[in-house]
Subunit: 340 residues, 4 copies
């Protein structure tokens, strides 16, 4: 048997610990060798929980360790670019949570380092590995619905909104919409050309002071004439809602949410069923494991990474254009953002 790949986890927060559990119990061919977190206690606790040999508050130590084959970047959004850049320079294979950065300059610095180093790089767009979203892609690739004409993507976070200002996270633009941007680009499989956005603060007054919005709707025009709409809401009373629909020249495909069970209760007041899976950790539990398994397999086998540098950058461009459209209250061409 080949030695398992040594992974270093950088960031031991909610997402990081979820990856740690998956790697420990569900990913074959890899093991957690080290964990880093700026909060030393978090790193130590995680190491103990998952029997990780090495822990540190300084991720550079792990990058300097020749035993580390690959890093899994699950730290705060604002640190992604720096860590990816450093990991690339250290020659490590990289799995990074999305988004790569919140500015194009940061993204290009990090992704440039990756390209220069020639290291494997995967960005954490887990929906590509989700059986439902993957089925949509498959239907398109196999021609079941013909050439895509219109895509409609819905991502709504469960309310009530848990936090005030976005802080170190990505908010509606970089945490939520970045996924839909990637889905739209993946499904339409063409270059985005022009973007128009309407965003509003309808729930939490004052949010706009932080450049944040609780409702955002985006329309994207692609070079081949296809059109996508993205519907983002941060506060859905009925819970976590992520769906997609695409109509093409030969048919349409749509996917629903997933549910903790499918029971229907019929009583004097009507028919009732449960809300969707509560949030991303529950809904994409198996998918988060699968994306890392793909990463481990592809790195080991020397295969090209399915969702990498180009996907990380293109999705960011789309979100930056959408944000600019809202700020300048006009349609924005993607070319304007790249020119900037």
């Amino acid at each position: 048997m080949i030695n398992p790949m040594n992974l270093a986890l950088i960031g031991a927060g909610t997402i990081g610990r979820m990856h740690a559990a998956n790697i420990t119990f569900g990913v074959e061919g890899a093991r957690l060798y080290g964990v880093a977190d700026v909060f030393a206690d978090a790193a130590r606790t995680c190491a103990e929980r998952y029997n990780i040999p090495r822990w540190t508050a300084d991720y550079h130590e792990l990058l300097a360790d020749p035993k580390v084959d690959a890093v899994l970047v699950a730290s705060a959004t604002s640190t992604h670019a720096d860590i990816v850049e450093a990991a690339a320079k250290a020659g490590k294979a990289i799995f990074a949570e999305k988004p790569i950065a919140k500015s194009l300059a940061d993204a290009d610095r990090a992704l440039g380092a990756v390209t220069k180093a020639g290291v494997p790089f995967q960005i954490g767009f887990q929906r590509r590995f989700d059986p439902n979203f993957a089925r949509v892609k498959q239907a398109i690739v196999k021609g079941e619905i013909g050439r895509p004409h219109i895509a409609h993507l819905v991502s709504r976070d469960p309310g009530p909104r848990t936090a005030g200002p976005v802080g170190v996270g990505g908010g509606v633009w970089f945490d939520m919409m970045i996924h839909d941007a990637d889905m739209a680009l993946w499904l339409i499989d063409d270059a985005a050309v022009e973007v128009y956005t309407q965003a509003a603060v309808l729930i939490a007054p004052g949010l706009e002071k932080y450049g944040e919005y609780d409702v955002a709707v985006v329309m994207v025009k692609f070079a081949n004439g296809a059109i996508a709409t993205i519907d983002n809401h941060t506060d859905a009373a009925y819970g976590y809602d992520q769906r997609a629909e695409v109509i093409g020249s030969a048919g349409a495909i749509s996917i629903d949410n997933t549910y903790p069970h499918n029971a229907i209760v019929s009583d004097a007041s009507g028919l009732h069923r449960a809300k969707p899976m509560p949030y991303f950790l529950e809904r994409y539990q198996a998918v988060y494991r699968d994306e890392v398994q793909h990463f481990v397999n592809d790195v080991r086998d020397g295969k090209p990474i399915a969702v990498g540098v180009k996907e990380a950058r293109d999705s960011l461009l789309l979100v930056l254009a959408a944000k600019k459209s809202h700020e300048e209250r006009r349609a924005v061409r993607i070319a304007e953002v790249t020119a900037g």
Copy 2:
């Protein structure tokens, strides 16, 4: 028993004959007294089929007949404004198919005559009487989903596209989108402020020469911050598709198409069910009768018409702004269209 209301049908084409059948067999308190069509044979045939006492190629004769209480305008789109204007001047109650006109000037001329004459006027937005769309409105009015934030309206005609150039009809803008515009305005129940459109010819090359498109997607911003998207496709391979979804501060509501039956066949290739009702005549069969019944009742009882002059005009403004947005490739404020 009160004497039945004498209706004059103007236009004995597909829609006109459908109304004739409904009035004959299903509307209480009204009867068809006359029918007019520029094609005299069509008027005569219709009169014979439904035992209508009077028929003519010249609708003015019916407007001049004091026995006619009300007219039902089901002629070609391009003739609606003239007929409505003349009927108003003749003092008749008016039920007119949508759209009232394809230009604001024509619409204002006709609707101005209606207002001046003070005659009852109903525009044929039948979806308002459809049990599914009406349930969405009811949920909003009753507060079941809170304050509306985002509405998504889908209208797709069954393919393959039956005709080339639009000719006397309304095409994607005035035949299809006008309904969704009315639904958006009805459901959000606020003034539309700004509109952005992407339209494309993806199916029938050359169509754009006629100002017509087979795909059009519109985003509408309302004064209260709500956002609506409209998804129009003229050529859905799987048939007639009209759905709606609204998310509000307390929940969401969505409606599906209707189907000829609900059987699910499970076999070695999967689970299968029938396509939606084939087209508007089948899907809205009972609804077309109900809207005329409402008209007859409201006229008789002297009640205000639920969907009248304002609704006919506001929906047209929205479509005109959407069309202008596409033509000028920018977001357009509603105020720009009214100013014109």
Copy 3:
């Protein structure tokens, strides 16, 4: 145009008035010429409501009237056999509500008269004309699910139970199960051989004194080896529930209830939709009209009636065997009932 068929309605209760409305507004080629009801006021009121030329408390007067082409028997269950027998002897075409009788002797007397007279006879099993049930039959006939192996039929009346003792009606055996018996025979399309029943009083204590039960479940074995189960409940808290499922050698087909609308409301407590159509008048509204239209057409065209003497008798045999099985607490062969 051929003269419309003159129908005489016998029985002006709920079902009778429903047929009167359908014939007046929806059935082509027929008109109501007379109406009879033992309550003269009911006959007179019905005649006035639907402009029926002749009314009487004595149906024999209508049978003696040569202008009557056909009778529609919608009186109390206990009178069906007598009226059908008399109508047959009078040479009228007959449409009779189900069941033909509650005893085999009565049924054979009435159906024997029909056969002897050679008059057209249709029994009111409206589900055969329902788009959902008809789709199940079609799938079987077309071979979509192969040879039928197991059928499951559900008929549950909406609660709370409206009445105490059954009285002149048919109760769970003759009002409810008779329909499922006909469906099982129609779908399996073979002779029933043996029947086993469990029935219980779980809701309305004391009901069994009247030979009535609020829950009854029946298993039927057919000559070809197929098996059917019938699930009857008189008091479903969530309303009227009539479904069917058949599995065959090549697949399965199932049908759901129908609903006043298909809206799904999603809120903090879950996903909700409306209960099924409230009761038979609403659910089968169009179907009741269609079955009479078929009768009128078949009589006029001299075509054999699709659901007639054999169907009326076979369904009764099945119900009698099911009742006997419950009473004797053992499986009962159909041959035992016919021998009796």
Copy 4:
């Protein structure tokens, strides 16, 4: 941290290896210490695949090993009783796959030994841990549907039927129906009183020579008056189908199958979705892990086992009565089987 429980797996076939994978990757607080299989190669291969310290062709060696805390019996059905008896005498906690035996004498011998030894015992009715079936039970326990009146249980194996004679397995009676028997008893939560069965060979002629049938339908009457039907089919063309429905005094609950994804493809031929999860290994993947986790936790915490001796015996009684009903072509009381 407490030492993990040492499990010995007896039987390294399909089910055994599935449990091995679950215990290795998903069950906390336990580890596989030994594996036995009459085919020594199977035991050795399994030991290598999952790093199990000890393997043997003779399970008695594992029972004699004091390091073994508990055994997991996943061997051929015909060996369950002997192994359970021996394990009980050896004082091991026992998790046994169903059925405990195919005769009451064998079952009572094994279960008697368990009771006498006082060891923890769990029978592998995994559906009790399935989120869908568990939701049905929860609805009943919480009173959401009132007192249960009628239950309908469907279990159909995917066709084409993979094997001829049943051999060492349990066939329709002991492999399939045993689960539905347990579900009926669990959901109705009362004593079964009388059983009636119709079984037939409709697919694989000659099967009855082996006492085996490809279609079996059972009706069960309970002491409290409730009625259950069980619908078993060994050869469903559309795949693995396991559903349940219960109607009670206040409502009903139903559960559907689970699916690999929920995408709906709409095209010119209709609406299509995927077949259910292919078979038990896929459908109950997580459930098989959860039932063992419950066993490990309950044994460790000294809690009573939720599904044990009584459940193993009662379900067998029901199946034996159902089989006897078929063989003797009459309804059979449970008391007749226990008396035997």
